[in-house]
């Protein structure tokens, strides 16, 4: 299939995932920024993960917060950070602040002939940070960040 997903460690601090989508960048970009659309694909059911909430303020400097439940854990996990750059429909950069060794994620959307190549680039703060993520990686790529139900969830009555 031409839509194959690749993931590669491209340097001591970098990890890159790519995939081509059959649609214009404008549409793919929207699916990466609107909560109701993100919730349809970001947490794969086959991994036993489900969304509890998803908030994005997709503007430069805006915050995002994703909260997931996992079949194997009673406690939800929260992923959060800030958007450093939001340039529709070509570029999205955000921080991952649930972990002090969290990467900065840059996603680029390159349209060509109605298809869009998406490149997800994670830049870790140091070689040790990426090595550490690998060493503790038995959660299948999810940071081991299990958080207590927080105010957000309580406020939403989840």
């Amino acid at each position: 299939m031409n839509s194959r997903t690749t993931v590669e460690r491209t340097s001591e601090r970098e990890l890159v995932a790519t995939r081509t989508f059959d649609g214009p960048a404008r549409i793919v970009f929207e699916a990466w920024t609107k909560p109701e659309l993100i919730m349809r694909w970001w947490a794969p059911k086959s991994f036993g993960i489900s969304f509890l909430s998803c908030e994005t303020d997709a503007r430069t400097g805006g915050a995002y917060r994703f909260v997931f439940g996992h079949a194997a854990s009673e406690q939800p996990m929260a992923f959060f950070g800030r958007y450093i750059e939001v340039t529709p429909p070509s570029r999205l950069v955000w921080t991952n602040e649930e972990d002090e060794d969290g990467a900065v994620t840059t996603v680029t959307f390159q349209e060509n002939g109605g298809k869009t190549l998406v490149v997800v680039h994670d830049l870790y703060p140091s070689k040790e940070a990426l090595d550490g993520a690998i060493a503790s990686g038995s959660t299948g790529g999810w940071p081991e960040q299990f958080e207590q139900l927080d105010d957000l969830l309580v406020a939403q009555g989840c």
Binding site: T6, G23, A31, P44, V118, G140
Partner: protein
């Protein structure tokens, strides 16, 4: 993914259920050692020690490397293998996400056509 973790835990606990093997881990925590060193230290035959080290290796608790005629044992997975396994997990995660995203993109395209 969960099966993978469970299988690994089973292997780890099985490996740790034996006093000699726990002793070997403790020893390797202090310094790397050859199988011969370990056999001497635990008053065992080479064959017996090889078996114990094999169980620890299967469980991913010990790695061994043969240099010349000496097989050296140390704690932990071979880093490259660990990294390859982790990257494969990441790939599976992204592949699962992207399969779902394909569907979302399709739906959005179809909706746009209807709206036109």
């Amino acid at each position: 993914m969960v099966q993978y973790i469970t299988a690994r835990l089973d292997a780890s606990f099985a490996a740790l259920s034996d006093a000699t093997r726990r002793g070997v881990l403790e020893q390797l925590g202090r310094a790397d050692a050859s199988i011969t060193d370990l056999a001497d230290k635990f008053h065992m035959t080479l064959t017996g020690m090889k078996k114990h080290v094999g169980v620890l290796e299967q469980a991913g608790l010990v790695t061994t490397q043969k240099v010349g005629r000496v097989r050296t044992c140390r704690l932990g997975l071979r880093p490259l293998e660990e990294e390859a396994a982790w990257i494969e997990q990441r790939r599976q995660l992204w592949a699962a996400r992207f399969d779902a995203l394909d569907q979302v993109v399709d739906d959005m395209k179809r909706r746009e056509k209807v709206d036109e």
